[in-house]
Symmetry: C2
Subunit: 147 residues, 2 copies
């Protein structure tokens, strides 16, 4: 793991990349429809598994989450995303990428870096991120034949 | 993907591996406490990402789910599990294994094969399974330094 490049720790409201991305990418309904299953291609591809517990209260989280979902979908190499959060507050989001490089590039997008920073400060009690290479997949329909 | 060995499609109540595993492994409280974050070791290790939508009604699902969680934890190479299900019914369960071989061996455990078969017939509207090798991970605490 290499050292991350410096990024703002105390953003001001006047220079707010999240606000910008929100204005550009928010849907008319003000709500981003989640996918059910990501339409991933034949393996191999990269999966980033983000498991998190939330702090109490929204504190701008839903707005950020919608903005990041839309922004991620515009990145090179993006394949899809699946996300579920329990009533208990435990959430798992898996984003899929063409390769490790595109997943890492998304991690370094400025607005996403700010969301990560705010996430550590405000939104998440704790989280785990696991970057993995998918080398085999199957569906309910193909499951009888899957090894 | 190789062809799977044959397995029962119409199990009877008299020969029910799920029932057996339930009797042996059910906790005193009759409820299996879920982990929050799996205590995985340094990469590499294997992640099996199971994304699913449920059919309506329980139909024995909760009993099976608890039994499978406990049975999985007794398998060689098991490292942990994380699971979340949305109010919408979309669920993501990630199980972690020492290697691909131990993940595959769990897939072929008899009681688990029966649960998979019943799952296709009764419990799941649809699902995706993705088998992946984790080669990088980090936490909130280590995130500032993660590449």
């Amino acid at each position: 793991m290499g050292a991350a490049p410096p990024h703002p720790r105390s953003p001001t409201a006047e220079a707010d990349p999240l606000k910008g991305s929100q204005c550009r990418f928010e849907s008319d309904r003000g709500y981003v429809e989640p996918e059910t299953f990501a339409a991933t291609p034949e393996p191999p591809y990269t999966a980033v598994v983000f498991t998190s517990t939330r702090t109490a209260g929204d504190n701008g989280y839903d707005r950020m989450s919608d903005a990041m979902t839309e922004l991620a979908a515009r990145q090179p190499g993006y394949l899809g995303m699946e996300s579920a959060r329990d009533a208990s507050g435990l959430g798992i989001t898996v984003s899929y990428w063409r390769d490790e490089e595109s997943a890492r590039a998304w991690k370094d997008v400025a607005a996403h870096r700010l969301a990560q920073s705010r996430g550590r400060e405000r939104w998440y009690e704790d989280y785990r991120v696991r970057v993995a290479t998918v080398h085999r997949d199957y569906t309910l329909a193909s499951s009888d034949f899957a090894g």
